[in-house]
Amino acid sequence: MAKQLQLQPSKYSNPKSKAKRRRSHGLDLAHALGASTVMTLRTRAGGPHGVKAMLHEINARLVSRGGRPSISEHSIRRLIPLAPEQWAELRELSIALSEKGRSISPGQFAALLIQRGLEEFEYEHKSKSQPMRR
């Protein structure tokens, strides 16, 4: 009698699920470590030269780190329009980040997200020669 082969869905058959799992794991790690910045690096490091190249990429993409203040002085305030659900999400996430004696306001968290978004945008567009419309 012919053996009926039962195909089990492979976890590799849907590439999106693997990417989603990686993103979810990245967010879980960010929360577990108390990180306020998460950045996917392009450099794949292997050995001393690779990790130095990775360090160069990190420093090129961050405003400053280590021995200097990590974010620019937040010296001006501007009104930025948001949908009610966006503000609710900011508040929820800032509360989650504010456990265990650390505190971050929704506004501070929003400022960090804006900074991170700008850095990634500038990094991706720095090679383009056309001036940006203002």
Binding site: A45, P48, S70, K100
Partner: protein
Amino acid sequence: MPSTRKSASARNWLGATTPQGTIQIVFYVPSKDRFEKDIPHEKWVKETLETFGRLFRGATAFPRAQGVWRDDAHGGKLVHENPTIVECYVDRKALNKGKKELRRFLHRLGRETNQGEIGIVIDSKYFGITIFDHE
């Protein structure tokens, strides 16, 4: 062939018995505080190696790198720094098990050496910690 099958067969012909560490962790031990004052760098390199060795079975510190960063937030000032880079490979179970202690260590380093940001790369993702837990 999925990568787990390939690595399982390599483990067999190598006769390897310990867990596979495929997640790379890279940590840059800072050499200065946020006001560019020197910190006890060798002490923290030693602590990093001990922590990673305890949590992840081993780590390697490369000789200090010479680095210079242009601080655009402060008028393009050039800042010289000599970080030590510590690298290790870990399997996912060990990483999940060691998350809490890793967090305690990173936040303590950031707090005690007065850092603006502590950065660690795990599996090609950079995690920047700017707000440190209280003791």
